[in-house]
């Protein structure tokens, strides 16, 4: 019997430097004895911390409610690393620019754009440095939160491969079909499609595979009402809907993904998107996993999936 092909799957790293470096180190040291790494989208961060240079030459910033001052280059590097570790972007600014950012959304947007592309570029460079020669391929794709600006950067990557909206050979027996778009969210994020269009694109991809039942389907958004998509229900003002002192929860996944899984019966579904709803569920014969995400706390969450010609031999949640 052939040795199982082991996948490491994770998602929603959201610019956490610590989580990314953990992933690379675990892969380079082959801690989990994997044959391939799959990252199901949302690489970029959501928040930017101004690190304000003061006249005395010191820098100040507030991180997670703690005010910090860096008095020299070493302390500044440490501060910026702490900011990056939780998935935020540090941007050095003067007091005047910091004040301008409060009233100029364009300026903030420019900083975001610059920082997001720089972080992804740095990550791809680091991945090539650390993993070249390891023989462990890294397949990734953008998620709904990832701006299109990162696509060219991912395209230049020499090691990690952007497989969004592609069909690639993954294991000796299985192909990988990837779809980074999500169904509509209340936030109107960069990569969203109506459910019908989403299903059409996914179905088009599935028609290109050798054997649908020997396919791993990677969609950033989990299937609807799968238990991997439970999240607080939001009001039009994006606030959690509260009733009797409790937050209402419900399924927020994609009906298109669910229909695709029920129609094509892929061997494995790899998902992300809903950080707090990690776990594994079966939809018919398909094992669906959402590793969840605690990347912003520096914890790398993932799943190890052992695949054989017959299907999923075992699955195991890991964290580090």
């Amino acid at each position: 019997m052939a040795k199982p092909f082991r996948l490491y799957v994770c998602s929603d790293l959201h610019a956490s430097e610590r989580a990314w470096r953990k992933l690379l180190n675990a892969t380079r040291a082959n801690t989990y004895k994997v044959d391939a790494v799959v990252i199901a989208g949302d690489l970029t961060g959501k928040a930017l911390v101004p690190v304000v240079e003061e006249p005395a030459g010191t820098f100040r910033a507030t991180l997670l409610g703690t005010r910090r001052v860096a008095r020299n280059e070493a302390e500044l590097a440490e501060l910026e690393r702490s900011i990056a570790d939780v998935g935020y972007y540090a941007v050095r600014v003067s007091p005047a620019e910091a004040a301008r950012m409060e009233t100029d959304p364009e300026l903030v947007s420019r900083h975001f754009h610059e920082q997001i592309t720089r972080r992804v570029r740095d990550w791809m460079t680091l991945a090539a440095e650390r993993l070249e020669g390891s023989g462990i391929p890294v397949y990734l794709m953008p998620g709904n939160d990832d701006d299109f600006a990162i696509d060219p950067v991912l395209g230049e990557s020499t090691y990690a491969r952007n497989v969004n909206e592609q069909v690639v050979d993954l294991t000796p027996w299985h192909q990988l079909v990837s779809m980074g778009w999500s169904s509509p969210t209340p936030w109107s994020t960069p990569r969203e499609l109506p459910e019908e269009a989403f299903l059409d694109r996914l179905s088009d991809l599935m028609t290109g595979v050798r054997d649908a039942r020997k396919t791993v389907i990677m969609t950033h958004v989990p299937p609807y009402d799968s238990g991997l998509d439970t999240a607080p229900l939001l009001s039009p003002s994006l606030q959690p809907t509260v009733s009797a002192g409790d937050v209402l929860r419900g399924p927020v996944g994609s009906t298109g993904v669910r229909k695709a899984i029920e129609s094509f019966h892929p061997v494995l579904g790899v998902h992300g998107h809903i950080h707090e709803s990690g776990g594994e569920r079966r939809i018919d014969s398909t094992l669906c996993v959402n590793a969840g995400s605690e990347a912003n706390h520096g914890v790398l969450r993932g799943y190890l999936i052992d695949l054989t010609a017959d299907g999923v031999e075992r699955s195991m949640r890991v964290e580090g």
């Binding site: 470096r21 953990k22 992933l23 180190n25 801690t31 989990y32 959501k46 928040a47 930017l48 911390v49 101004p50 304000v52 910033a61 991180l63 997670l64 409610g65 005010r67 910090r68 001052v69 860096a70 008095r71 440490e78 501060l79 702490s82 570790d85 935020y88 910091a98 950012m101 947007s109 900083h111 969210t185 209340p186 936030w187 994020t189 238990g227 439970t230 607080p232 939001l234 959690p240 009797a244 002192g245 409790d246 937050v247 929860r249 998107h273 950080h275 707090e276 776990g279 995400s293 605690e294 706390h297 520096g298 914890v299 190890l304 031999e313 075992r314 195991m316 949640r317 890991v318 964290e319």
Partner: protein, 573 residues
């Protein structure tokens, strides 16, 4: 680096957001409901549970002083939890911390810590069930005092056998009814569950406020002493005091660790639960550190207030020594127990001021609600621990499967209920004797409440000690997580101080008495002593935990699952 800044500290972009669900207020209520139990009425009953001398100094009893001192110590525990949960904010609490922080043997220690805590908690649920039933009787007696109704005056016969004890078929049937009610609440969808918990906790706390305010304004030692013989078949306060003196439970305040630790141990038992929001920290929204600190410290303040000011000041209005003596009679199971009931505050208040019986009835209903409320809250907390076990393959995966309807681990909830039902069976029928394990439950083959409580205290040892150990170790064993933890510089010191406090306490109140057979009856063998006090049962649960761990390890190994990978630290640099 040090600190100062002004202006906007964070800019966010349009993106989907992680939203956690439990508010700080929810967490505070969760903690409060988890520790109060019978406390609104019964804290004075606990004066005498340790059977060491209780004195009074500066308006506080030895028990009240222990409550304040242990409360101050528990601030350390709160800081440790706030720090650890802010870098590991997930459901499972201590189990997750220990399994990830303690090198190599962490998963085993974490398992044993949470396994024994689970059984300690189930034992507490089992303790609360007959107490809930007992409180229904007490409420009936209060109505009887007020209305002189024969039905209510005969409330002591509700749910009791011919000896007047809540046991055998009536006791078990009552326990089943209560368990079914707990099950109904526990199996509600999350929103309705929290609504029920919030409403019940609100009524319970309102009862506490009413008891304190009206009690302090209207009760006097003289009114209680004058009316007691009328309602207690001639029993006087002097009789109660004599019972306390005869058993050497009335004396002076003594802070000698060899004696004081017993009282402190009882306080810890009554505090257990104030920190349980740390077990659901994965569900708390906003700033986790701040949320946990507010919820844990807030619940701790309530716990300290209720075990010191509330209990001691109200007891002073009734006469502290009489309350100590009444408790002695209850714990000894004396036939001379006034009204056949423990000295629950609303009952003693009804004796002192019978005209206010509707108010005391309301308070007694509140006293009745809290033990009931504790049970589904415990079930919810236990289910989160079991979910964490399941995710780590310490138990089969189906065990932690999340119900689509409940959005909660239904199998785990059901298991906790069944375990409580088994305890109820063992408390009500001499099953242990019939299956050849009667040695675990002398003299009648049934688990008794005192043994259950000692079992809970002993079984919870690891859960009190390990947070300190984790605080000491985390900086070195998980630097990747601890680097940005709040109070990280102080964490090893906080952990060391907490470990010393707990080890001293458990040595004097747990191990030393066992080794020296403190309280052993003359005609009792050493083994019977260990059995009667719940020590043997505790050891049995520890052994069972080891067996289950080994089975799970072997099962995972046979399936090719290397659980060691689950906890492995990944260095970021």
């Amino acid at each position: 680096m040090a600190a100062t800044t002004e202006g906007r500290a964070l800019f966010t972009r349009q993106s989907s957001g992680l939203v956690r669900e439990v508010s700080v207020l929810n967490a505070l209520f969760f903690n409060t409901a988890a520790f109060i139990g019978v406390g609104v009425g019964w804290y004075p009953v606990f004066y005498s549970l340790a059977f060491v001398a209780i004195g009074t100094a500066g308006g506080f009893t030895t028990y009240g002083i222990a409550a304040i001192l242990i409360g101050l110590a528990c601030v350390i525990l709160s800081l440790i939890f706030a720090s650890l949960t802010s870098v590991m904010p997930r459901s499972g609490g201590d189990y997750v911390f220990t399994s990830r922080i303690v090198p190599r043997i962490g998963p085993f220690i974490g398992w044993m810590e949470s396994w024994t805590l689970a059984f300690a908690s189930v034992a507490i649920i089992a303790f609360e069930i007959p107490v809930f039933v007992r409180n229904l009787q007490i409420t009936g007696r209060i109505v009887g005092i007020g209305t002189n109704s024969d039905f209510f005056n005969g409330a002591n016969t509700w749910f009791t056998d011919s000896s007047g004890a809540v046991t055998d078929v009536p006791g078990f049937l009552a326990a089943i009814v209560v368990l079914v009610l707990i099950g109904i609440v526990s199996f509600q969808p999350t929103r309705r569950f929290h609504r029920i918990v919030t409403v019940l906790a609100g009524i319970g706390l309102a009862g506490m406020v009413v008891m304190f305010v009206v009690g302090m304004l209207t009760i006097t030692p003289e009114s209680f002493a004058a009316n007691l013989p009328t309602y207690a078949n001639g029993t006087t306060v002097d009789t109660l005091v004599k019972a306390g003196q005869d058993n050497a439970v009335i004396g002076n305040v003594n802070l000698d660790p060899a004696l004081f630790s017993f009282v402190a141990g009882i306080v810890l038992l009554n505090y257990i639960g104030f920190q349980y929001s740390a077990y659901i920290s994965g569900e708390i929204r906003g700033n986790v550190r701040r949320g946990i600190l507010i919820a844990v410290l807030g619940a701790l303040v309530v716990a300290v207030f209720m075990n010191s000011v509330y209990t001691d000041f109200l007891s002073a209005r009734l006469g502290v020594n009489g309350q100590i003596g009444w408790g002695v009679l209850y714990w000894l199971g004396s036939p001379d127990l006034p009204l056949g009931q423990p000295n629950s505050l609303p009952l003693t208040a009804a004796i002192a001021q019978p005209g206010l019986w509707p108010i005391w009835t309301f308070v007694s209903v509140a006293v009745t609600l809290f033990p009931f409320l504790l049970c589904p809250v415990y079930v919810a907390f236990l289910s989160r621990v079991q979910l964490a076990w399941s995710l780590d393959r310490q138990v089969p995966e189906w065990f932690g499967a999340v119900s689509e309807r409940l959005r909660a681990p239904a199998n785990a909830i059901l298991t906790a209920l069944i375990a409580a039902g088994v305890f109820a069976l063992l408390q009500n029928f001499p099953i242990l004797r019939q299956v050849g394990l009667g040695f675990l439950a002398p003299t009648d083959g049934k688990l008794n409440l005192v043994a259950t409580l000692w079992f809970s205290i002993l079984a919870a040892a690891l859960t009190w000690i390990m947070p300190g150990v984790n605080a000491i170790l985390v900086r070195w064993t998980r630097p990747d997580l601890a680097r940005d933890a709040p109070f990280i510089t102080w964490l090893p010191l906080l952990g060391a101080v907490w470990v010393v406090i707990m080890v001293v306490l458990y040595w004097f109140a747990g191990l030393s008495p066992i080794i020296n057979f403190v309280g052993k009856l003359e005609a009792e063998s050493q083994l019977d002593y260990l059995n009667r006090t719940g020590v043997s049962f505790t050891l049995l649960i520890f052994a069972a935990g080891i067996v289950v761990f080994l089975i799970a390890w072997a099962r995972n190994r046979a399936r090719g699952i290397d659980t060691g990978l689950m906890y492995r630290e990944l260095p970021p640099d």
